[in-house]
Symmetry: C2
Subunit: 109 residues, 2 copies
Amino acid sequence: MRADKRKKLEAAGWAVGGASDFLGLTPEESAYIDMKISLGNALRERRKSQQISQVALAKRVKSSQSRIAKMEAGDPSVSIDALIKSLLALGASSTELSKAICSAGSEAA
Amino acid sequence: MRADKRKKLEAAGWAVGGASDFLGLTPEESAYIDMKISLGNALRERRKSQQISQVALAKRVKSSQSRIAKMEAGDPSVSIDALIKSLLALGASSTELSKAICSAGSEAA
DNA sequence: CGAAAGCATGCCATATATGACATACCATGA
DNA sequence: TCATGGTATGTCATATATGGCATGCTTTCG
């Protein structure tokens, strides 16, 4: 239940908009991972739109550059809590968070 | 930064729909806690609507009754990850999760 | 060609969340 | 009355996530 996620994530570079689990993931696992990826993307976008580096963001949220990178990458070692806290720190509204999470569920429109 | 949250939560029974932080919480902390409470409520509702007990849900998500209770209570010791995983296990869609999260941001309409 | 800035990835010690268990509380009904 | 089922709350050992750090890889700019 650890290797699975990693595999999914490794395949994620590919899964641009996607959710599909051709790996052995339950729908819940898949949904969970998709959410992380969505939030990670949202984080990167928000950070870039504010023109700040990972290092700067790390300082802002009292974390480290490596962790920010992992967050944006949807690394299995980062929690959704971390993603959410970082997004909030960048001024994201809960509405915005909702959008990111919801967009995780959009099956290949 | 630990006692604060607990305090907020203890006061939360009162904060029915609310967010306001008359305690010393930053807006982000407040938003984060509100999300947890919202998700906790969503979890309880969904569980009740499916007529299952905390014990049953615990078994389903491979956890324990106490943890479910804490989740529904928005206890500081539970992560949003746990909440989300449990909701997903109860068949909640990402859209539904979005709604719960978003409703956390609704300032005393 | 360096040097510097930005990012990715691996590792590790420590902090934090988790499951499990015990216990207590409140209903309901026998 | 006392069982029984459902829930709340505390504690503890262990699992997991985190911050920090080192390192390597690209670009860009001098």
